[in-house]
C-alpha cells in the first residue's frame, strides 16, 4: 500500500535509458512517435468552447470562457487573454490541493505564450469600444489524468476549445453578457495553427510525448510553440545544459512532429 509515487525508481530509469539507446521504448513506440490522440469537443456546455484531449493515458480538459471587461492600459484596442492551469489532485497521486505550485504556473504561462506570441487569436477584433470595453478570453486547463506530457496535450486542447468556441450575446444597453445565449460568431483565429511540441533529452536520446516514467528521467526538455515553420515561443526546462547541436536536432524533430500532428488534430475538428 505504501508506494512512493513521487518519482520513478532508478532501476526503471536505467532500463528506460538502455532501451532508448537501442531505439526502443517501453510501449513499443518510436522515439519520434506520439501516443494515440483523441479529441472530444463541447464536453462542458456552459463553457463557450471546451475540449477533452487524450494522449494515451494522459487526459486534459480545456475550457474557454468569455467576458467583457476593461482593456489593459498597454493595449487599449485589444481583447485580453488569460491562460491558467490547475493540476487537479484528482488526476495524480502527486498533486495536492492548495495554491498553484510551480508546475501548474509554468504550464499556464508557457501555453499562454504559445497562443499569444503566435497571434493565433486576433485580439484586435475582440475590442468592443477602444479604451473601455473589450472581450477577455479565459482559457482554463485542468488535468484529468497525468501520464506525462500534459503540456502538449493541453496545447492541443486549447486549439480545439478555441476553434469550437462561440461568442455569447452582449447587451450593450445593460452592459451585460448574456451567458448561455451564444451567437454564430466564432473567436477570430489565424489560419495557421500554433502547436506546442516538447522534446525531452534522456541520456543521449531525444524523444517526443513522454510518459510519466520517461518524464521523470528526462534530463532536460525544450518546448516550442510553432505554426507552419515559424517558431514563436520556446522554453527550456530543467537544469542540465543542452548542446547547440542537440537543440538543432530537437528543432528538426519538432518540425517533423508538427507535420504529422497537424492533420491528426484537424481530423477531429472537421
Amino acid at each position: 500500500m505504501e508506494t512512493n509515487f513521487s518519482t520513478t525508481a532508478n532501476i526503471t530509469g536505467e532500463r528506460i535509458k538502455q532501451y532508448l539507446r537501442e531505439g526502443k521504448r517501453f510501449d513499443g513506440r518510436d522515439l519520434d512517435e506520439f501516443r494515440e490522440l483523441s479529441i472530444k469537443t463541447d464536453v462542458s456546455k456552459n463553457a463557450e468552447g471546451s475540449a477533452s484531449v487524450k494522449l494515451g493515458q494522459t487526459e486534459v480538459m480545456v475550457g474557454v470562457k468569455l467576458d467583457v471587461s476593461a482593456p489593459y492600459p498597454d493595449s487599449l484596442d485589444q481583447g485580453n487573454l488569460m491562460v491558467t492551469a490547475e493540476l487537479l489532485p484528482l488526476s495524480s497521486p502527486r498533486f495536492e490541493s492548495g495554491p498553484p505550485k510551480f508546475e501548474a504556473i509554468e504550464l499556464g504561462r508557457v501555453l499562454d505564450r504559445v497562443v499569444r506570441e503566435s497571434k493565433f487569436i486576433d485580439l484586435k477584433k475582440l475590442c468592443i469600444k477602444e479604451g473601455e470595453k473589450v472581450w477577455t478570453v479565459f482559457i482554463d486547463i485542468y488535468s484529468i489524468n497525468d501520464d506525462g506530457n500534459l503540456l502538449d496535450a493541453a496545447g492541443i486542447g486549447i486549439i480545439a476549445a478555441l476553434k469550437t468556441a462561440r461568442i455569447p450575446k452582449y447587451d450593450e444597453a445593460k452592459e451585460k453578457v448574456l451567458f448561455g445565449e451564444l451567437t454564430d460568431q466564432k473567436i477570430p483565429l489565424s489560419k495557421n495553427i500554433p502547436i506546442s511540441i516538447t522534446v525531452h533529452k534522456i541520456g543521449d536520446n531525444l524523444i517526443v510525448d513522454p510518459t510519466k516514467e520517461e518524464e521523470d528521467v528526462s534530463d532536460t526538455r525544450i518546448t516550442v510553440g510553432s505554426a507552419d515553420g515559424i517558431i514563436s515561443s520556446m522554453q527550456k526546462g530543467n537544469s542540465i545544459a543542452l548542446d547547440v547541436k542537440d537543440l538543432y536536432e530537437a528543432l528538426d524533430l519538432i518540425e517533423s512532429s508538427y507535420k504529422t500532428l497537424l492533420p491528426k488534430i484537424e481530423k477531429f475538428l472537421k
Binding site: V43, E48, V64, T84, P89, D140, D147
Partner: protein, 233 residues
C-alpha cells in the same frame, strides 16, 4: 398533479441519470455521475499514510473530501480554487459518506476523495456524492452500505424531484423554490439533508419520501456501473 415544469418533466420525475466507473486510470478508484446536464467526476487516492504525522488518528482513518467546480462549468466563470461554498460542500460530502465507510480499519491513514464538477446545472453536490461513493467502492474501501443522493424540492406549492438550475435559482412564482438535497443509505437512512427555501413539516415529509423512492433508482444505476467494471477486471 398538473404542475408544468419548464423542461417538460412531471413533478416526481428526475432527470436522466448515468454512471461510469474507472474514468481516472491513475486513481485507486474513480467514477463519473451524470444527472441531466450536471456532470461530476470523483477519484479516490488511498488509504495512504497521513502526513504530517500530528494529523494521524491512531483510532481510525481519516476521510478527506475535496469538492471543486471547474471554472467553466457554470455560465459565469468562477475563479479556480477553493471558496466558502466548496469548503462547506466538501465537509457535507464527508459527513454523507462517513456513516457507511468502515474507516476504523485504517488507523493513521487518510483516504482522499477528489470531486470535480465538469458541467453544472444544479444538483452538483448530489452528483458529487454519488460519484464519490462509487469511486470509494471501486477503490475497494470496505463499506457497510452504498449511499445515493438526490434532491427534492418545492416549486411554489408543488413538491417536485430534482431541481435543475433554472428551477433552483430563477423560479420565483408564488412561494418560490425550495431545494432539499438528501443522501440515503440503501436501507433508507439519511446521511445528509439540507433545506434552502421555505416549507411546512408536512410538505417536507412528502419531499423526503419522494426523494427516498428516487434514491433507489440512483442506487440501481450506481450498482450497475460498479458491476460492469467488476466484470471487465
Amino acid at each position: 398533479m398538473t404542475f408544468k415544469r419548464k423542461d417538460g418533466r412531471k413533478a416526481d420525475e428526475m432527470r436522466p441519470i448515468s454512471a461510469k466507473v474507472g474514468v481516472v486510470p491513475n486513481a485507486d478508484g474513480s467514477a463519473m455521475y451524470t444527472s441531466g446536464k450536471t456532470i461530476a467526476i470523483a477519484a479516490v487516492y488511498g488509504p495512504k499514510k497521513m502526513h504530517p504525522q500530528h494529523l494521524q488518528n491512531p483510532e481510525k482513518g481519516t476521510l478527506r473530501c475535496n469538492y471543486s467546480m471547474l471554472s467553466f462549468s457554470v455560465s459565469e466563470r468562477i475563479r479556480p480554487g477553493p471558496n466558502r461554498r466548496s469548503t462547506e460542500i466538501s465537509k457535507i460530502t464527508e459527513w454523507a459518506l462517513e456513516p457507511v465507510l468502515m474507516i476504523n480499519q485504517f488507523p493513521n491513514m487518510v483516504i482522499d476523495v477528489h470531486i470535480n464538477i465538469i458541467q453544472a446545472d444544479a444538483g452538483t453536490r448530489c452528483a458529487g456524492i454519488n460519484a464519490a461513493a462509487m469511486a470509494l467502492a471501486h477503490a475497494g474501501i470496505p463499506m457497510r452500505n452504498m449511499i445515493s443522493s438526490i434532491s427534492a424540492g418545492k416549486l411554489d406549492k408543488t413538491i417536485v424531484l430534482d431541481l435543475d438550475k433554472h428551477e433552483d435559482s430563477e423560479f420565483n412564482e408564488g412561494e418560490g423554490s425550495t431545494d432539499i438535497p438528501m443522501t440515503f443509505t440503501n436501507d433508507g437512512k439519511l446521511t445528509h439533508i439540507q433545506v434552502d427555501g421555505h416549507i411546512t413539516k408536512e410538505q417536507l415529509k412528502e419531499a423526503i419520501s419522494l426523494a427516498r423512492e428516487a434514491s433507489k433508482k440512483v442506487y440501481a444505476v450506481q450498482k450497475k456501473a460498479l458491476k460492469e467494471v467488476g466484470e471487465q477486471q
